[in-house]
Symmetry: none
Subunit: 132 residues, 2 copies
């Protein structure tokens, strides 16, 4: 009886987000549903495959929490739920410092010889806030 009603957060994530976004069709689905809630019928019209196939992709996305479904009459409408992408973001964040090579250059500069003048740094320093 007690239907937990799927509140917020804590998505069970039977399919993890990494796997969910691995498929290009699925990424296309996310993009399509980014600001519109659409029924399966309409959604599948955008992809070169069966409605059933699209439906299965939607299920995988739903399992990963990336999409929310809502029954309206005889149709099921889906819309994006970007929340689980936060996990991706935090995973990515860890690696960001490893592609900002300029940052490493600066770091080496600062760490390896602190005795020298720090005046050479300004140009490099700008790179530190690279991202908005």
């Amino acid at each position: 009886m007690s239907k937990p009603k799927q509140v917020s957060a804590a998505a069970p994530a039977k399919h993890d987000v990494f796997q969910a976004i691995a498929d290009p069709t699925r990424r296309g689905l996310l993009q399509l549903l980014v600001d519109e809630e659409l029924p399966v019928n309409v959604i599948s019209g955008h992809f070169p495959m069966t409605r059933t196939a699209v439906s299965k992709h939607l299920r995988i996305l739903a399992d990963a929490g990336l999409v929310r479904e809502r029954k309206v009459g005889r149709e099921t409408r889906y819309k994006l739920n970007a929340d689980p992408l936060r996990e991706l973001k935090s995973w990515l964040a860890f690696y960001e410092r490893y592609w900002e090579n300029k940052l490493d250059v600066l770091k080496r500069l600062v760490e390896s010889d602190g005795s020298e003048q720090a005046e050479a740094a300004p140009a490099s320093l700008k790179l530190l806030d690279s991202e908005s």
Copy 2:
């Protein structure tokens, strides 16, 4: 006339980065190689599978450009190359507004003065708690 034909030449990406990071073992590999260049032998010691299996994962990562290999004597050493993750980052960036803007949802709600329909308010407010 001379077709630009993939100017960058840096990212052949036979395997795309989305698929490459979909596998947990592969993500583990990236983490392991984050600041150390290691030979296959040592790398495989960290995973519960055959050296050959690890080697194949490394190949997939290499194909996606996420790892660089270098032959040293009779061993092949691998190290992280985070650069291709930029693609992921930019893909993600597009979706960021769809989770950051939950604040905006509230803002819109408050600003519209709720004169039309206030029933949605409590549900929306709940979404705010999902903060990392």
